[in-house]
Point group: C2
Chain length 288, copies 2
Amino acid sequence: MRDLSGEPALLSINGATIRKQADLLGIIEGCARHGIADISPWRDQIDAVGLKSAQQAIKDAGLKLSGFCRGGLFPADSAHRNEMRDDNRRYVDAAAALGAPCLIVVAGGLPQYARPGSAPSKDIVAARAQIEDGIAELLAYARTARLPLAIEPLHPMYCADRAAVNTLAHALDIAARLDPQQSGMLGVAVDVYHTWWDPDLYAGIARAGREKRILAYHVCDWLVPTTDMLNDRGMMGDGVIELRRIRAAVEDAGYSGLIEAEIFSDRWWAEPLDTVLATCVERYRTVV
Amino acid sequence: MRDLSGEPALLSINGATIRKQADLLGIIEGCARHGIADISPWRDQIDAVGLKSAQQAIKDAGLKLSGFCRGGLFPADSAHRNEMRDDNRRYVDAAAALGAPCLIVVAGGLPQYARPGSAPSKDIVAARAQIEDGIAELLAYARTARLPLAIEPLHPMYCADRAAVNTLAHALDIAARLDPQQSGMLGVAVDVYHTWWDPDLYAGIARAGREKRILAYHVCDWLVPTTDMLNDRGMMGDGVIELRRIRAAVEDAGYSGLIEAEIFSDRWWAEPLDTVLATCVERYRTVV
């Protein structure tokens, strides 16, 4: 395993982690102040400050990106399909313009939640077919932009309204069907929050390594009790996830990339930005 | 598919569905009043009125049981292992005394949650090994009592604190290892709330049928948004689960047993008992 006890050279901060405390420019300054060399911004954060100014600030601070959040949300009725396609292409373009190593792709759930206004459906099997078709179409566009797509399976509790790809095995099956040549343009993002419960997790990580699919690794923690399904993720070390064991498996599978802290948490959004970043660095050194 | 549009002959009411409105005697009277022929009580409900009086009331009302809730919660440190074993044996004895067709078995999560007071652990792999050992030990006891065990996989959001068996495939794998002879003494309970999201659901149901494991079928619905991880289950038809499609698969797999409505819901616990039962009957006829 890699030694994380020194400078946080492999730590990346996902923009959502401190989105309530600062805009992207403030996040960039904060990361630089704490010796954090990498970030993963969300498109709304880019839009809020403008692409040019985001590019300049990232360059001036000497930061790298670990990813860009997020494309996807594929299920849509026919009236919303063009909007979905164009929206995703803009995500690819923005990620490429910023020099992101990949676009994080969140599948979307049933069409009425993935693309509001779509005709309601309960057909999760059909939604999954749309997801796979959507990834196939976006992949063709992403190849021309040389921008890899990282499918992020989300926890099954988000199946209906956020993502109907809920296991690493499912994400890897999609990648195997759409990119059998293992071109490097289609992979997965492994997030401990979404995958820790899976009895096939370690088999899935090993397979993802063999098939050269691991494009991103995200950490936070699972709290007991979890009081909110969206915004009660834990700081690394505060929950029950075996972070070291999972990171060892990911690194054994050949992953040598960044470790991104992505924490949706009302509790941590209420803390000062410097407290959150200092805590992320300390936990990165001691428990991640 | 079986026709449910007439009398609710296949409907069973899980005791949790109306546990805030009445004790077991009140639940039995209510079910009889609504033409519901079957219930699935919880042990605390039996204890509250006494086993003899529960037996008599069930007999007087002409009710059958669809199951008995619930054994399991296997992970424990060494100081709590005897308590766990004895507790589970008492569940088997109570279920057998009541003539239940099976004991619902919920695996338990990490030991500090499954058996409070146990030394804390984050090792979910070890917890799963304890679960399998615990089922093996309980199965030997249950065989002497001629009381089948139904492993109920719970939704992955309960992995840490309630059950670390979270997929039908995992439950079936355990059953295959511990009861390869398919004796009928070890099977699964399929609950739509816990399994609907699973991309392998239909394959799992078909396998469960081939291996003769389906001992119980539970229904409710998944609401969007779900505002509470424990007590915001939906009434059948109010959420996004394709109830008819799943029941068709379960029946195609050979299941000919009861359909049990198990709804943990603050909203429905606030309604009068007769409203809840009448709604269960109406939804059973129209959407289940």
